[in-house]
């Protein structure tokens, strides 16, 4: 079983388009959407939810006004300025550290598991999908990502599947680190722009340098700036990163999205061909 995680550093380079196309191409696989705070894969895969579960990534403190003696201790010990002068805890600022709870002399602060989101196992026309929805303004996206990957892996093992295909989050922080830790292969989707190259360098040094995961690069819309594409190719060469392929710019990508189809389903063309080659490249290595 091979777990392939698609990330990008910079947002909007085409991660989900490539991931959805892989759903069309791979056989015997489970899909997982780890972009838990702005998930889009479901818009193409159109899942039918089979099981829906609550996610709790941490606790939340809440002061019971009837028991509070307004001594000021909680305000003093809170490092996140989450408690105001009226002894109300701002749930957005609260990090759930529980230090106020520990030090409250009146034991007037409740500290219960908070529901931070939901996760689902669904059926799609491509097979099972594990996905999630982090509550708005919630924390612990990393924990939810880890949970989604764990469930996808369990499913793959149970059904004897060959691939886990994971749509990752943008950036290089918490959810991305949780998405790639222990993965077999990372595919970075980039674009030939100054921002794309800048962000590629950071995320490649995370995946390949920091975590030492076999890392492939694909350049999406490579023809919008050939010079920049060349710079990216040079970078890949210097860093021993494998260039898995280049995808041309084509309006068919947005058109496929509007019709809720993968680019592979949407008909044969240069984009579908390019992604097919990239998939072959990754699977063979």
């Amino acid at each position: 079983m091979k777990e392939i995680v698609i990330i990008s550093g910079k947002g909007g380079t085409g991660k989900t388009t490539v991931t959805a196309a892989f759903a069309s191409l791979a056989e015997r696989k489970v899909m997982a959407d780890c972009d838990v705070d702005a998930a889009d894969l479901h818009l193409i895969l159109e899942p039918e939810i089979r099981s829906q579960n609550e996610f709790s990534g941490g606790k939340r403190a809440e002061i019971r006004p009837e028991d509070c003696i307004e001594c000021g201790k909680c305000i003093e010990v809170c490092h996140f300025d989450a408690i105001d002068q009226d002894y109300i805890i701002d749930p957005v600022a609260c990090e759930g550290c529980g230090v106020c709870v520990w030090f409250c002399p009146a034991e007037a602060i409740d500290f219960d598991e908070a529901v931070n989101g939901e996760w689902y196992i669904s059926d799609t026309r491509f097979g099972p999908l594990v996905h999630a929805r982090l509550g708005i303004a919630e924390e612990n996206s990393g924990k939810l990502v880890t949970l989604v990957r764990r469930e996808a892996k369990a499913l793959a093992e149970e059904q004897g599947l060959d691939y886990i295909i994971v749509d990752g989050a943008p950036g290089v922080g918490c959810p991305v680190i949780s998405s790639i830790t222990g993965a077999n292969v990372v595919l970075i989707v980039t674009e030939p722009t100054l921002s794309g190259l800048h962000d590629l360098k950071r995320v490649a040094s995370l995946a390949s340098g920091h975590f030492d995961i076999p890392t492939f690069i694909c350049i999406n819309k490579h023809d919008i700036n050939p010079e920049m594409t060349e710079l990216i190719e040079t970078f890949c060469h210097e860093q021993n990163l494998v260039l898995a392929g280049k995808i041309p710019y084509d309006a068919v990508v947005t058109d496929a999205m509007v019709h809720a189809r993968t680019v592979i389903e949407h008909g044969n063309g240069q984009v579908a061909d390019a992604i097919r080659n990239i998939w072959q490249r990754i699977v063979v290595e």
């Binding site: 550093g9 947002g11 702005a38 889009d40 990090e95 550290c97 030090f103 303004a137 943008p170 950036g171």
Partner: protein
């Protein structure tokens, strides 16, 4: 006045709007790039660098000879960042949220704070606009403390333009919290609309004034406009899907570099926002 530029979906044009707005206004402007995981504003602003300093968070430093191995630090820590075992105390720095619980609770006074660098803050200036960004070190998990540090440079006398990270979770909240107005940048595609809806849910939860800018107008479909109309959300600006703008972007140029008349458009955008926040 603080204006944040955010979006659910990445790559919709947050930085494009933020840098063009900042440089169109010019005087008494601070531009903060709070997308500390992947900051890009400097690629377009090309600031003249003025200084930089490391950014650190506090983590526990355990003096084992003083430690009685009572286990309280491990009990209070919700993040499993400190773990007392028989005659050792293990600290996992990257899990630490710097809540201070362990050094406050230690009855022997055996735990002190020590600094751990997690990123860098760099400052510069371009055409009178003060530029500040944070850059998280590779391998670091926690963006919010660095975002908070960047924002602490805000001056009352200036208009602050915050370039927020994508998404709707804690780093975004840290970036936009305290703003007077939020511009949500989207694109007219199903992904753009889906993530815009999440971003709208977020700003409504925070009870903030906001409006939408549609970038790459002309691609996809009209659903985003119908949505904004139904929800009574003002569409502040439409940036067309223009090959020249896309090419300029790819090289690190701004819209106002190739279409100077856009300075006027961005200045009007600012006036609209001022009106919306004072009415």
């Amino acid at each position: 006045m603080i204006i944040s530029i955010a979006s659910g979906k990445g790559g919709t044009g947050k930085t494009t709007v933020a840098v063009n707005l900042a440089l169109s206004l010019g005087a008494d402007i601070q531009y903060f790039d709070c997308d500390v995981e992947e900051p890009n504003g400097h690629l377009f602003m090309n600031p003249e660098w003025k200084g930089h300093h490391a950014f650190s968070v506090s983590i526990p430093d355990v003096d084992e000879p003083t430690c009685s191995f009572c286990g309280k630090c491990g009990e209070i820590c919700e993040y499993h960042a400190i773990l007392p075992i028989k005659d050792h105390v293990l600290v996992f720095p990257e899990l630490c949220h710097s809540c201070g619980g362990c050094w406050l609770v230690c009855p022997e006074g055996a735990i002190s704070k020590k600094e751990r660098e997690i990123g860098v803050i760099e400052e510069g200036v371009r055409d009178g606009v003060e530029f500040i960004h944070g850059k998280l070190n590779i391998g670091e998990v926690l963006a919010p403390p660095l975002i908070k540090a960047v924002k602490s440079a805000a001056k009352e006398s200036h208009t602050v333009i915050i370039d927020a990270p994508p998404g709707t979770s804690c780093p975004v909240i840290e970036a936009v919290n305290g703003s007077d107005y939020i511009i949500l940048v989207t694109e007219p595609t199903p992904f753009g609309l889906n993530d815009l809806k999440l971003a709208v849910e977020m700003v409504r939860l925070l009870k903030m004034e906001f409006g939408v800018i549609v970038n790459k107008a002309g691609i996809g479909n009209d659903d985003v406009y119908h949505y904004c109309e139904e929800e009574n959300i003002p569409v502040l600006m439409k940036i067309p899907n223009d090959r020249k703008i896309a090419e300029a972007y790819s090289k690190g140029s701004m819209i106002i570099d190739i279409y100077p008349e856009y300075r006027e458009t961005f200045t009007e955008l600012y006036d609209t926002i001022v009106k919306a926040t004072t009415s």
